[in-house]
Symmetry: C2
Subunit: 102 residues, 2 copies
């Protein structure tokens, strides 16, 4: 089934008109998306965990933004270096990463 | 607070490199996003309901895709004409629109 247990949304400032600008994009959103994809594949979680890039979430000053549903956990100021901890603690361990949570 | 009660994600095939192609985009995703934004504003639900465009969800043949979290309801073959019903039935009425649900 295509519906994941955890759906990770990464703001990549992807404008609907294709324009390539925005805070999260400038601050490494592409690296964050790629890191999640790598971690998901390495852990063989690709049936259970999906990562999707998004357009602007509207709280740019707290970016880069990562949101995990259905939990509804919002993370701010995320970098690619934080991805492993989010995967270990939250996705696999069930513990929200408090230092990044908004 | 910026965390919405309902977070509506609309696949707009927004590629992380800004390329403007993909099934959902071709099939009216921009109109769907705009319709949700208009309905949310008209109903004064902009504190409770957020709409965000996304990159490819990976089930293009079932597109355009709309996903509502935290419920985890996935809708397929959505058009802008379906937006009012999703808002009435699901968002305001709590009833999933069965004919569109995946």
């Amino acid at each position: 089934m295509y519906k994941p247990k955890h759906h990770i949304f990464v703001c990549s400032s992807s404008r609907i008109n294709g324009e390539q600008k925005g805070f999260c994009l400038q601050k490494g959103a592409v690296d964050i998306v790629n890191s999640f994809m790598e971690e998901i594949m390495e852990r063989e979680l690709d049936g259970d965990v999906m990562v999707t890039n998004t357009g602007c979430i509207g709280i740019c000053s707290k970016g880069p933004i990562v949101i995990v549903y259905p939990e509804g956990v919002w993370y701010g100021s995320v970098t690619a270096d934080d991805v492993e901890e989010i995967m270990d603690s939250h996705i696999e361990g069930g513990e929200v990463v408090a230092r990044l949570a908004l």
